[in-house]
């Protein structure tokens, strides 16, 4: 084997091996740089929310003339996600349904609120939260 080949071939092999290792490392690192998928991490009810859209005091019992707030806590990122709140009374009678389209890049809070000028009928209620149409969390509450 000529001298040039004896030197060049091993060098070429080393170069290819280093390149392959670098590619493998890059592929393995990719998932850690991908933003976490958006998920609902909490649902709180209260009579008011602060500027951070979180309820100031968590409650599960309300009075007939309260404005009822549901604060939905999310984690992760999404360029376009739909949060839907579905409020029901008693055995499932629909009270209200509304949506918020959000594009969070990290932890976020989204509030939904409902009010009834002539007062809520006393009884048991439920709020269900859906993320992109999939049930995420729900909470029962009562108007007394």
């Amino acid at each position: 084997m000529p001298f040039a080949n004896r030197v060049l071939i091993p060098l070429l092999c080393i170069g290819l091996a280093v390149g392959a290792a670098a590619c493998a490392k890059k592929a393995a690192e990719t998932p850690s740089t991908t933003p976490a998928q958006l998920s609902v991490t909490g649902l709180d009810l209260g009579r008011s929310v602060g500027g951070d859209k979180r309820v100031t005091e968590k409650v599960s019992d309300f009075r007939p003339h309260d404005v009822i707030y549901a604060s939905v806590l999310t984690s992760g990122a999404s360029p376009n996600a739909v949060l839907r709140a579905r409020w029901t009374f008693g055995d499932g009678q629909l009270v209200s349904e509304s949506e918020q389209t959000i594009a969070p890049s990290g932890d976020a809070a989204t509030e939904f609120h409902v009010s009834k000028p002539d007062g809520w009928p006393v009884g048991k209620y439920k709020v269900e939260v859906f993320l992109n149409g999939t049930p995420a969390q729900s909470k029962d509450f009562e108007v007394k």
Partner: protein, 91 residues
Amino acid sequence: MGLFGSKDDKKKDKPKADFSNVQSGGSSTAPSPAIPAGKTYVVQKGDSLSKIAKREYGNANDWPRIFEANRDIIKDPDLIHPGQTLKIPSA
């Protein structure tokens, strides 16, 4: 029906609460999507993408627009489920 009526009859007699004047709203710390999302539509029983496209755009053949806007939740355009919330791109 028995002398005192059945349990079901009593259920039927109970008036439903009136929630027609309920006011609702909301806000978020998260920004809105950079590209206007258009409106959304909640899939009802018996819906298909063609039916929704016909209703929203007046042309059933426009269904791929809805499919493309919802690729994240629709894997098969022939298979959508009641309760799914679809993004409807502006006409």
